[in-house]
Assembly symmetry: D2
Homo-oligomer: 352 residues x 4
């Protein structure tokens, strides 16, 4: 059994990976760590886990929190993983980090990312950056080393945009300066911490755009698309929040290059995602929504062409807490531990 | 493997049992039948099941629908099971019916039930009534025959009331003429069919009582409690709907008998539910809600005494589509097929 | 024009009275005061008021906050009004307080109230208690003095319980030891402050009971019913929260006295509420919910008798922020300023 | 007093105009007509109107429905107004139609519109088309005749797109082939009729795109923008539904022309909307959402420029049932009846 430590178990990303590990046939949770809400069983913090995960939650400096593990998930905000991961790696663990800390392979890229979002551009563990991999298997499977030990799990919005746009960029279906990502997220994307804008009465009958000045996920979208394109691919990105709990609906636009029509688009998407068992493709008539991926690792893509205006339109559906976070992290664990990618992930959601 | 047929697969009770069977280690879905929305794969009707359950949905009179099965679930309204179950039983199947058709053991009891809710009091298969069992294992496990072949799955509201009141009646904690069940359900309890009162704009910011004149689940509550008490136990019952999808919150009241205090109540409940692994008991300080049982077979009970007014107050939490319907039906399948009760049911929900 | 000061303008009770005052023909808002979120226009805090109420929000110790007014609303928690109201009264204002500070007419009653909810039992302005009135016009209109200058606006839950039970107690329809109030509130009842349990993801698909050990509104229900009955009337009270924003649905139970039947009940309710233009009575067949009083000063009551169990059942519907708080406060202003009770309040809500 | 007839009073557009007329100082409701749910008082269909609008609902062929009125609102689907309006106009009424029937000034334009959405391209009253006006005062005030008698009220999505894009097109801020409208609507936009996709359980935790093949509102957007630009302005348009009741959030994109920067954009928008009292402009830092226009005639616009990708981004917020329908219709009534535009419309919404 793979022994797992979860750092940051108290947030939605933490409880999500705990739930998934409970049903994983080859992993077991060994240690739970959090910065706040510690000293109690996990099932006190999350009563639905009573009888399933009653392990104590340790503070990061508790001796029990130092126990070596085979895999450590850092379900923590920017700046935590880069400080704590080196010690875990030194103890022999493989590390999967949810934040922006390990999504880039150079100190320069990290610095640009950090500057865009107003953080300290100096990475605390720059020696690790060449060794990390951007953990989006469907696009980047080939970049994982045979003995990959460090993974930067993608941002949830970025995940949806990249799954939806990579085929179009790879096949040069669209002009590279025409891409727009109009993204809507459920409220859980903002995390567990109570804030005035996500207080139920403020949110239940409200939709709004936010962080128009620049969302932290744009940079990784541009970096990956640029790598695929072989040239810079700037993206206009809009983050919006609507009153669902789980779900991202990203509507992605690009101007079709001359001569490209629906059949070309469909062929390119089928080809690109052929080996990606968690991607399902639909045409514009399919009556699907985010509810149909809720609780799962799937990304459903509606592929559509507006011939009248010569635009590609792709609608990407994911569960922001699953393919956008915890279940993708588990998929990464499977890969770097040599298991089939879908181990413990091959299940549908519950409806309604 | 237990081969299963689901009649009425298109409703919420049907898709619920399909989802559960997909993760059950010893059962497989063989045949899907429905009266409407047939002739398509199950995954066209429920896109989240694409790749998991792509079986066709047959009409009841399709020859393929007649194939014998080991277990047949009738996820159908009153009046269907009593007509179709005899043929399935004759073919050797075990039958679990979701409706009121097989919740009573005599034609007289059925007639009283039917009269209360304005249905034809004549049962279509009265010879089966002595052979059925009221399928609430936590209260009625002893009544299942060694080779039980027919089960009447309880009503969702009844389930919550009985789990919460049976210990109090059994231990004579309360006076038998003082019981009040104030029940709130999520909207999925009304089924999949679109109706004006559950149209999203009419429901999203609304709560209301309904069927004040008499809900169909009252009779089975009174019948079971009466059997436990050895005398008639009339119950005042209020059905209310609130804008959640899944969940029943039943607040149950009774007047304490002289000399009964909190410690007696707690002891009685712990004793009664000791062997019931799907029941979890809480005191009045626990911060739990229906979200903590969502998607599971659990019934969480908050046990409380108001000494000032000498009343017992029990708050029962279930998922109306799970313990209130499909997962309890699967628990029944496990029992009558000789499997451990919690086979395929031992999992927590997902949060949030 | 009546010049109005609102202390505590930043909360839901504050913005509610501001909205109402904006459409009141004989009042104008003069001064806005709050303890937090000050120094900005009201319309920065509440953007929907841009162009309608751009007055600055002053801190309580700002000289501008001291300006005398004709009416002062204290939309503040327990403990504020009793400290600040004396100065406003001394300056000649009439005062309407939303908290428990002025709902009782004696220091003893206040002390009992305070003890029940764990507050300091010593009132800070006991000399004012004989001069205040419990501001529920529909029950207590006769108790307002000709020159009433101080009003304690009722609690939202208490409002719904009292409107629904007072007729039954006054006409002795029910036994006085049998009353149960099963109350459900929308989330806005908990106020504007963001808290973990009302964070959207924690609340959107959840219902739960809370404060089972004793809600702060029980005492005023018992005190008023006791005054009507001429003897003590203990009440079992359960507070529950469901994911709507606005609305209280209180289901009220009592055991019918011998010889009392539905016609007696209906007659008693019609008689009691004849002069109360904001009360609308319905029978058990009416398809009404809290949505039908949302945004208004109305209290809709469904009157029902369960003959089988000999119980009275009344379902009270109010908007917790309106009849449960701000619009009832305005009704009080109208009364103590000599205006028709429904001035500025005679409007229906918006649907859906 | 202006005597008003509402045809189609039973839908959300009908009850919306009824609510507004009840508070209008110079209009009174005279006749209510509907095709279904007739023969009862309006307040039976909409209980919140009890005591405010208890008028009977007549069928269209009832003699009482024929009574002449000063203004007739057709809150009816496509195809009704064009058949019934001529008789009302002949009786001297002014007519405001909510559908696509009178949004175009020529039979050819109507035919193109009808063909795009699969309707009969032959208009039933083509002689009226030159006499109608596209009823979006903020863009089209100058096109109303001195004695305008017929108005085609805009589509709700079109309203939001046009308010947000007209200034950019008028001032040539963007290239005309670059416009994308990514629109999200609340569920009430689909009307009052219960449908499976808007059944509460199917909708509450779901967002989805729909009618990707072509929404009925695109044509009027292109027609108006084309008229402003003096050339064809094709628009890529995406309709999406999210689980709020009321609200449209339209995120509008266009590629900036060379030399255009944020200051130019802001100046152009301020200039264009200077006389439009129901438009409020915000910059990208404003924390506003659809909740802040709910229940009102306002359109809030966030004006933003993404210099990095050289794109204009405008976020338009309206209440789809108000500025998107009923309150804009009332604004039209005010204009064609010679009243100030904001008569009966100058009020903020309620929050939360």
């Amino acid at each position: 059994m793979i022994k797992v430590k979860v750092v940051g178990c108290g947030g939605y990303g933490g409880v999500g990976i705990v739930e998934l590990l409970l049903r994983h046939p080859q992993a077991e949770i060994q240690t739970l760590v959090a910065a706040t809400e510690t000293g109690m069983p996990m099932s006190d913090l999350y009563p639905h886990l009573k009888g399933f995960c009653d392990l104590p939650i340790y503070t990061p400096d508790d001796p029990a929190a130092q126990e070596p593990a085979d895999v450590v998930f850092f379900s923590t905000p920017d700046g935590v993983g880069m400080v704590q991961a080196p010690a875990e790696l030194a103890k022999g663990a493989r590390v999967i980090d949810y934040s922006g800390d390990f999504r880039f392979n150079s100190a320069d890229d990290y610095a640009e990312y950090a500057r865009r979002i107003g953080r300290d551009p100096v990475h605390k563990a720059p020696e690790l950056l060449p060794k990390t991999v951007y953990g989006l298997p469907e696009l980047n499977r080939g970049a994982y080393a045979a003995d990959q030990r460090l993974v930067g799990n993608p941002g949830c919005f970025a995940m949806s945009c990249l799954m939806g746009l990579a085929p179009a960029v790879a096949a040069k279906l669209v002009t590279f300066d025409s891409l727009i990502c109009d993204c809507k997220t459920g409220v859980s994307g903002a995390g567990k911490k109570a804030t005035p804008i996500h207080h139920f009465p403020a949110r239940y009958e409200n939709m709004q755009a936010y962080r128009l000045s620049g969302h932290q996920h744009v940079m990784e979208v541009e970096r990956m698309l640029g790598a695929i394109a072989g040239e810079a691919v700037p993206v206009t990105f809009t983050a919006q929040v609507v009153p669902v709990c789980r779900g991202i609906l990203s509507t992605l636009y690009g101007t079709l290059r001359d001569g490209i029509h629906l059949a070309d688009v469909q062929a390119a998407y089928q080809d690109y995602h052929r080996a990606n068992s968690f991607v399902r493709l639909y045409d514009s008539k399919a009556a699907i929504g985010t509810a149909h991926v809720r609780g799962t690792n799937y990304c459903n893509l509606t592929i559509d062409v507006d011939e009248r205006t010569r635009r590609l339109r792709v609608v990407a559906h994911i569960d922001n807490l699953m393919k956008g976070q915890a279940s993708n992290a588990l998929q990464n664990m499977n890969i770097i531990c040599g298991l089939p990618e879908d181990t413990g992930l091959h299940f549908p959601g519950a409806y309604p």
